[in-house]
Every structure is written in C-alpha cells, then in structure tokens.
C-alpha cells in the first residue's frame, strides 16, 4: 500500500505496528465499523476520474462526523466521515468491511487503507531458529525408491517431482525428479516408520498425488490418474466453458512466461518479450508452462474430450513474456519489475483492454505502480493474483488499489480423491459447504473478487495439458469472465480509452459478482458472473 510506504519513509524512526495491521485484516469481516483512510486513486484529486472527484467533494461538503448512506448501480453502503485534511486530501472514515467493499465497487479508483498506528523502532533480538540435534548422522539414513506410473496402463512417468515430508509442519524432508524409468531414490531417516506426507507433481497429462501418513517401505509405488479433458473442474463448474464468440472484440494481454504459440487450443495474435537482452519477438513459452496455462483458462478454443475450452474463447490473446528463458546456471529465473512495467506499457499501447498478472510478491514498487496507473489512464485494467503464501496479506501488485485483486476458491469433488489438490481444502467454507477458499490463497481487504483456482486443467506447451492450482489460475478465470462481460457491453468496449473507461470495466466486473458466503476478506465482492 502506498500509504504504508509513504508513512514509513517519511517518519524517520517510526514503523507501523505490524500486529495492528494483521489484526485489522483478520477481524475485517466483523460487522463492527473500522477506521479507514480514503484517498483519490491517482494520489491527487486533480488527476482522478470525474466520478471520484465528485464523490470526494460530496464527502468534503458533509458536516463533521456525518453518516453517509448512498448507493448507485445496485450497491449501497454506509460510513461515517470522521475527518478530512482538505478537499483534495485524505478522509478518515468509519466503515464496516462489507460497506467498504460496496464503496470500492461503486467508486473504483478510490484508495482505501486501514488506519495505522506507529511506534518508535526499538530493536530487540529474538530467537529465530533452533539448532537441530543430530541432523548429520547420515549413518542412520535409508534409501527409499518411489516409482511413479500411470494408473491407466502402468507405464512409467518420467519428470515427476516427488517430495516426501518426514515432518510437514517444519517442512523437513527430501525430494527429487523421476528418471526415464519413473523412479527416484530418496534419503530418509531409518527410524521413522511413517511418512508425514508424500506429494507427487507430474509435469503434465496426469493429476498429482498426495498421500498422508504413509507407511514407509523400501519401494513406494504411486499410480497417477490421467487427465480426462471432459472432466468438470472448478473453472468449468464456477465459470463454465465459453461459447465460441464469448470475448469477441476484447483484447487480453497475459503478462507471464510466454504462451505456447503452436498449441492447437490457443490462438495468440501478438505480443512481445520484454526481458532485457532477449529478442522482442520471442514471446513463446520460453519462460515456462505457467503463461500457457493461464492463457488456456481465459481463451482456449478446443472442444472436449480432444481439447479444452476456456471462459472466453473469442478473446484476442496477446503474450507478454516477462520471465527470462531458463538456463542451466539459472533454472528458475525471476521476472524483474522493469520487464513487468514494460509489458504493462506495451499491452496498454497495443490496445489491450485487460492485462492478466498471475505474479507478484514483495514490497510495493513505484515503477510497476506507475505503469498500472498509466495503463488505467489508457482505459486498460490490470487483474492480479493475491498470492499463494497461505493466508498472508495480499501481495503486490494485487495489493495496489488500481489492480483487481483475486483470491482462489475451490470445490470439494472437482478433483480426484487423493490428488494434491485435496491438500488445499481449508476453512472457511461457503454458503455451499463444498466450496472453500484454498489454503494457499492470500487474503485481505484489498481483495476485489475470487475465482476458481484449485485443480484447474489447462493448456501447456508441446500440445499438452496439465493441472495447476494457485491464485495464478483464479486470476485468468476472473480475466476471462471480465472479457466475456466486456464483449457484451458495446458502450464500455467502444468508449474512449481513458481512466473512466477502465473504471467502468471494473465496475461492470465487480457489480456482476455474487458472494459465495466467505466474507469480503476472503472473496472481495465474490465470484463474477
């Protein structure tokens, strides 16, 4: 959040009291009003959209501590204005979490941050980890062979990532990748009769496997279930496969690892590689499988059981590759904020209506924020993943006020029993008790929507298909739904490309949302329709 960083840097020696921030996040669904600070989305009222200006001046005109009750486009909210710096400045308000979400949907472009309290930065030392006893007594280790095969025909599955945890809570364990024979040898303590958890992640074509409290043997056989492309996964259940013309006229940019250009289910109309030092026209999947999977969720054009169908197959897909090509020296290269900001610039300049960012982490970054703000001023909306840090606060850039931030929802029964996805089931459960917010999903008041993100089947390079889970998958589901909605609204689609257009797209998306019963901290406005 900008406010957080501004305060932190402008008040030497003072730092936010972190537990107050986290406390606000965790109690955010309580009906009691909280104190929040409202700011124009563009930092100054001069630069804000006209609707935001009018709204801010309405607040300024209210007598001190007035209670505002209003709504338009179907949403209603109440809040109490406690203080105002000046007409163009911040307002301190008291508002419930539910009303805050309604306000955010109604006045897109408004920044809303919790009031924070600061204390002197007194340094003290804490014990961060304890030395483990006898961790190097390798004489007591035993070798365990894990053999991964197809449950359909018993054939070996090479390239599967096998992870065995002796203690899942402390993440102690061993792992490796299966060879051509489908086997991998792990080194585990001889004194442990039961494995806490055994995960197997195939590269593609199969569902992953999770076994809990597994009796150890010298050889463990793990049969994997092949992917059936006609299977109804969470995307197909919550968002439905699109009609061929869903998304027509809408341009979507996928800012990611690049998209598989030769996959029969994908049609990529253009894009750019924005990694410095790599060719600009190299926007294929050189950064990995992730971008192709996201693209398929949005706009795959196949027909089950030979292919898969995305949410808005008529969408014009553009690939902006920001993850570098992997090398032996750097097998897991990272995407820089420069590449990401450049990709956002390029996407907006090339007329993308929506940009999908299934990436993020770390602290707010001014360069990325500026690019997102410039994209908004060009009528383009950025939709970003909340992050997969197991209930931590929404990560950047999703936490930036001008991004649509997306959490991940799953549904029991939409993945095979014993698949890795069964490990993502966690409270809270929705109004329909089969629905849950994935255990990995980050949460917080910055969330705008939720999307299906557990056990998702989609396209990967080499004309293959894979199952992936994450807010990375939930985000393109919401992007696809936004494309479908926008294609059906010619007035917004054909509007002048400015901040007001971007705000109208977001409003269209968020006002279509229906709560699944998790509360705003977990689902924002809910699932778009």
């Amino acid at each position: 959040m900008n406010w957080y960083r501004t305060m932190k840097s402008s008040v030497p020696g003072l730092h936010p009291v972190e537990n107050v921030v986290h406390g606000l996040i965790h109690v955010a669904d309580a009906p009691e009003p909280q104190r929040m600070i409202l700011l124009p989305g563009n930092a100054t009222l001069r630069a804000a959209a006209s609707s935001t200006k009018a709204f801010f001046r309405t607040l300024t005109a209210q007598p001190a501590k007035a209670r505002i009750s209003r709504g338009k486009g179907g949403s209603r909210f109440k809040m109490k204005v406690l203080d105002s710096i000046h007409e163009d400045g911040a307002k301190l308000v008291e508002i419930s979490a539910k009303d805050a979400q309604a306000l955010r949907a109604d006045e897109w472009g408004l920044r809303m941050v919790p009031e924070q309290f600061y204390q002197p930065a007194v340094q003290f030392y804490q014990v961060e980890s304890r030395v483990k006893s006898a961790t190097t007594a390798t004489a007591s280790a035993r070798k365990v062979i894990v053999k991964v095969t197809s449950a359909a025909d018993g054939s070996a599955i090479p390239g599967a990532n096998v992870v065995a945890f002796t203690n899942f809570a402390t993440r102690e364990g061993d792992g490796g990748v299966t060879s051509k024979s489908g086997t991998v040898t792990l080194s585990l303590p001889s004194g442990i009769p039961v494995l806490d958890r055994l995960y197997v992640y195939p590269a593609n074509s199969f569902w992953g496997s999770l076994q809990i409290k597994l009796n150890l043997a010298s050889t463990i056989n793990v049969p994997l279930t092949p992917i059936d492309l006609a299977f109804e996964d969470s995307v197909r259940f919550f968002a439905h496969s699109g009609e061929p013309d869903d998304g027509n006229g809408v341009k979507v940019g996928v800012v990611d690892t690049g998209i598989a250009l030769k996959h029969p289910d994908l049609k990529v109309l253009g894009g750019e590689c924005t990694v410095p030092g790599e060719p600009a026209n190299s926007y294929g999947p050189l950064g990995g499988d992730h971008g192709s999977h996201c693209a398929g969720i949005i706009a795959a054009r196949g027909t089950p059981p030979k292919g898969i169908r995305g949410i808005a197959p008529g969408t014009a897909l553009y690939s902006y590759r920001v993850f570098p090509k992997a090398t032996p020296q750097d097998p897991e290269p990272r995407a820089s904020n420069y590449s990401i900001a450049k990709a956002i610039d390029r996407g907006a300049a090339q007329g993308c209506d929506l940009l999908n960012l299934s990436l993020g982490g770390g602290n707010p970054d001014p360069a990325t924020e500026a690019a997102i703000q410039d994209a908004r001023n060009a009528g383009c909306v950025v939709i970003a993943a909340a992050g997969n840090d197991d209930r931590k606060p929404v990560s950047f850039p999703a936490s930036f006020d001008l991004c649509v931030a997306v959490s991940a929802v799953g549904r029991i029964g939409l993945f095979p029993a014993g698949s890795v996805d069964s490990g993502d089931v966690a409270a809270p459960f929705g109004t329909d008790k089969k629905n849950f917010i994935a255990a990995f999903s980050n949460i917080g008041l910055e969330l705008d929507a939720t999307g299906p993100g557990v056990g998702i089947i989609s396209t990967v390079p080499d004309k293959k298909y894979a199952v992936m889970s994450g807010t990375s998958m939930a985000t393109p589901a919401v992007t696809g739904l936004a494309a479908r909605l926008l294609a059906k609204n010619a007035a917004i689609l054909n509007a002048n490309r400015d901040a007001s257009r971007a705000d109208r797209i977001v409003r269209l998306l968020l006002q279509s949302c229906k709560s699944l019963g998790f509360g705003p901290t977990f689902e924002g406005q809910g699932l778009p329709e």
Partner: protein, 82 residues
Amino acid sequence: MARFVVRYRGAGDRPREALQRVQSIEGAQVLDDTGRMMLVEAPEHELRSALGTDADWVLSPEVNYPLPDTRKRPASPPSHGS
C-alpha cells in the same frame, strides 16, 4: 553495481538533458530504454543526483519476482537418528 528502473511520468517527451546526465555518470550503463522508462546500472546516489528532485521521475530498485508455485518443497533435509 545496482540496477534501477527509471520512469518518466511528466507530460510529453522526457527531457533530453536528464538522459545525458544519467549517461555521464561514471560507470553507468543504460541496459534498456523504452523512451518512457530505462533500466540503468549505476550508483544510486549519483543516479538520484542526476535526476534531481523533479517529481516527474520515478526511481525504484530493480526487483525480481519468482514464478508463482503452490507446490510444496522441503525447507530442510530430514533429521536423522534423533
């Protein structure tokens, strides 16, 4: 030397002198340039001085994001013989 993202947010084209000042920093390298934004390798203090206090410039350190991944990984090898 650290790498920085330098972005011009003012109206119109960026001032030509600013780029010249950045290029004149000893050892500085402009690694990529889109017109509106540059990736620059340079000492931070000198780079900030070259850009001055003009609010039209945004300067931020290069940050690298990992590929999102929900797969579990061991953080440490198992304890043996304890």
